[in-house]
Point group: C2
Chain length 470, copies 2
């Protein structure tokens, strides 16, 4: 590698450009409409906390506006998904929200889909629908542009708003009607190649969820309306989950960690699939009592889980009716082998909160927190406290971190309660008394533990915490 | 500022994390379905070039899928808009795509909007619509959460897919039905405050368009169905524009440049508004022949323009019917003064191409190019050429830049034609003959000029070009 990285790209300049002034925030200028009361309509803790922390506001049944802090977390999750998909060699596209009914008639799903599909007619009377998934449209893109096996393998994905007209939307964003979803589609020449794509998705998903601070267990599942032979759902264990799950407790000991993955390496991906799926773990749809009872009794677990993703291999189910063929090595046309792979991006926020909160509020994992650190000024208007807060704010910003500075004229108790509710993992508390001794307080939201240290040391510590995350 | 920025945040590590492997691309693994023939359905050059360069594919009339390179440009524009809105102190939210008809009945626009609004019923028979704009919904968010003048000023914005059922969609993404738009809404206590918000938007838009390599001229316009007193449209001059425009040629001499803006400074923002709007510049809707004829004859211009944004001040038009009031300083409720402000993000891609192309293809401005630099290997399979390309690719990547490496087994002519068509501003050409003399060729897409220099020097030059842009 050439010896030129230092030329001009001063890190501070670069980072300030990447996070221009304004991305970071003072609370007096932000829009964070926290609620003091528990909203009566919310039945589960994530819904309650998202409303209380001013992250979402209901616009209609199962349809939400994402307020600033909610949107910030949504973007963070979206970026993690994009980064991990790119790492696996998958290519981002964006398909439209409205689709023509014609394609869905070609695949035969237009009539099958039932009342969950939202249908409408445009001004010329053409049948349209709000996309619930995009197997048909992506296959149409493929068949229009790819004609040779030499252009395979290919995996296209998008992150886009979807709609499913749930009869009883509930649990906030966990079971909404309009939701943000990553949906990816692989196109391969053979079943063997497509199964490698399947494995590659499984590996990338494990990595994605772990970066979000979640343990999501792949479980053998039912393929439902997508169809196909092989499918795994990823479930986050939580009492409020909608699915009943059965598993060997040994699966919860597995962690993905910081492995170096070569996504082209079939053996490596296959080995990871086996590592994470060979132990018994199934949803009620595929549960097998006989197999389950073979697990040593002390390791048998029956619990509830939130589904946060699913991967499918379905072979030529769509490529055949839609005529998505390529010319094979022998010159003859063959239908491509496909699979589809989804992550429920908006629903993940609910799952993360279900898995990470206490009775004071949310506790964000560092990888997805909307702000890296809160700054609480105990005495707004005090010259030294104001100056120290401004200096800390500026130093964190210059490091490319995003602090949220509570600069309001409020009592300390109120400020602490807000910080606890919105769940930033770290808080720097600055007051005249501490400053006299040259110290501020650094507090972990998760443990509640505090330490006193100099403002400089507090900034460095925050920087070190986020070094491998931000 | 504390002296800690170097601790741990090695720039290379950081940049590689920000642009993980895979964000950058080798063409043999990318999906860039370029067309050799001119598509017959495209009437204007931007539509033609977007189809030929494999950026979009029509899914239905006026509805497009964004293929990988198109989506990449769309994301770049989106990020520029986010950065400039953040700089102006505006706060990002995300409102849903489907809205309930009830709110639109409250404002009285449900019946007014006519056939351009796409309406539907959900499974329970409730009237819904695909959002064409969001004055009602954002006002509902405001009235639900803000009650005191102390929480003003507030500007919320989103970038979201919209739908308008154009009777004759055409010109590709320039006049599509489903389009990606930034829409922002300011809430202020007084008319004077709201006019400062108006000015702040004008300033931030000038800066936004210039970063995209566009000259967009603010012109006095008609307020149309949004309503209100003050409004400016931003127009990019192009023969294919739909609006006839009349202006003093002196306006095209104005550039925003690298000004240091304090968006809280009313005088500064007002002065910029005056600088950019005091010369005559109007669309046909507000054109005044008498005023126009007062311009010295040699400076009078009649031309065509593409509308890429519009700002409005409309006072209490929505806050009154929807009851969006705050408690004023005297304790009495007052309806807030509002405006709304839009940028047509997807349409901008068409406008940029209309303004920047030649007969070989697109010429991307550096600020929005999907890849910073192309790498053309003249002899794929030649050991030295392959190694040199890999080294250049790695060095650019390590600098946080995104090269597109044409590593296909194709003739040089075909590779050059593709690079010219897709319009990357810079190309590094690597071949065995040059390498024998220790040089590669660096070519500017805009001027066509080439220079020979060492691979190291070529990488440094690309880095310097993007130093203030990437």
């Amino acid at each position: 590698m050439y010896d030129c990285p230092q030329r001009g790209f001063g890190i501070i300049t670069f980072l300030l450009k990447y996070h221009p002034k304004g991305y970071v925030m003072r609370l007096s200028r932000y829009f964070l409409p926290v609620l003091k009361e528990n909203p009566s309509e919310a039945q589960i803790v994530s819904h309650r906390l998202m409303l209380r922390a001013g992250m979402i506001k209901q616009a209609a049944a199962g349809i939400y506006s994402w307020l600033p802090m909610g949107f910030k977390v949504l973007r963070k999750l979206e970026n993690i998904v994009h980064e991990e998909q790119a790492r696996a060699g998958h290519i981002a596209i964006q398909m439209p929200i409205l689709q023509s009914a014609d394609l869905w008639r070609e695949s035969g799903r237009y009539d099958d889909y039932g009342q969950e599909m939202l249908r409408m007619q445009d001004r010329h009377g053409r049948d349209m629908l709000f996309t619930p998934t995009a197997e048909e449209l992506v296959t149409d893109i493929f068949r229009g542009h790819v004609s040779s096996y030499k252009d395979l393998p290919l995996t296209l994905y998008q992150i886009q708003w979807k709609f499913r007209d749930e009869i009883r939307p509930r649990f906030g964003v966990m079971r909404g009607r309009e939701f943000y979803m990553k949906d990816g589609y692989n196109f391969d020449l053979t079943k063997e190649d497509a199964l490698h794509s399947y494995n590659r998705h499984l590996v990338s998903y494990l990595r994605t969820y772990e970066r979000m601070g979640l343990q999501a267990i792949p479980m053998r599942a039912d393929s439902g309306p997508i169809g196909g032979d092989d499918t795994h759902e990823f479930l986050v264990l939580a009492d409020t989950g909608e699915s009943e799950v059965f598993y060997d407790s040994a699966v919860t000991d597995l962690t993905f960690g910081d492995r170096d993955i070569d996504y082209d390496n079939r053996e490596q991906c296959q080995a990871i699939l086996e590592e994470f799926t060979s132990k018994y773990a199934r949803t009620d749809e595929t549960h097998d009592e006989v197999l389950f009872n073979k697990i040593p009794e002390e390791r048998r677990r029956v619990a509830r889980g939130i589904e946060v993703g699913q991967i499918f291999y379905f072979g030529t189910k769509y490529s055949e009716p839609l005529g998505a063929t390529v010319q094979g090595p022998d010159g003859k046309p063959v239908p491509v082998h496909m699979g589809s792979h989804g992550i429920g991006v908006s629903r993940l926020i609910g799952a993360i909160i279900e898995a990470s909160h206490d009775d004071k509020g949310i506790i964000w994992p560092e990888g997805v927190t909307p702000f890296h650190c809160g700054i609480v000024n105990l005495k707004q208007g005090d010259e030294e406290a104001d100056a120290a807060c401004a200096k800390i704010y500026k130093a964190l910003t210059a490091l490319g971190l995003e602090p949220l500075y509570d600069d309001r004229n409020e009592r300390a108790g109120g400020k602490f309660a807000t910080m606890d509710l919105i769940g930033l993992p770290w808080r720097i508390t600055v007051g005249p008394r501490g400053l006299k001794n040259g110290v501020v307080e650094l507090t972990s939201r998760r443990t509640g533990e505090s330490e006193e240290l100099s403002p400089e040391a507090a900034v460095i510590k925050i920087a070190e915490i986020y070094e491998d995350i931000a």
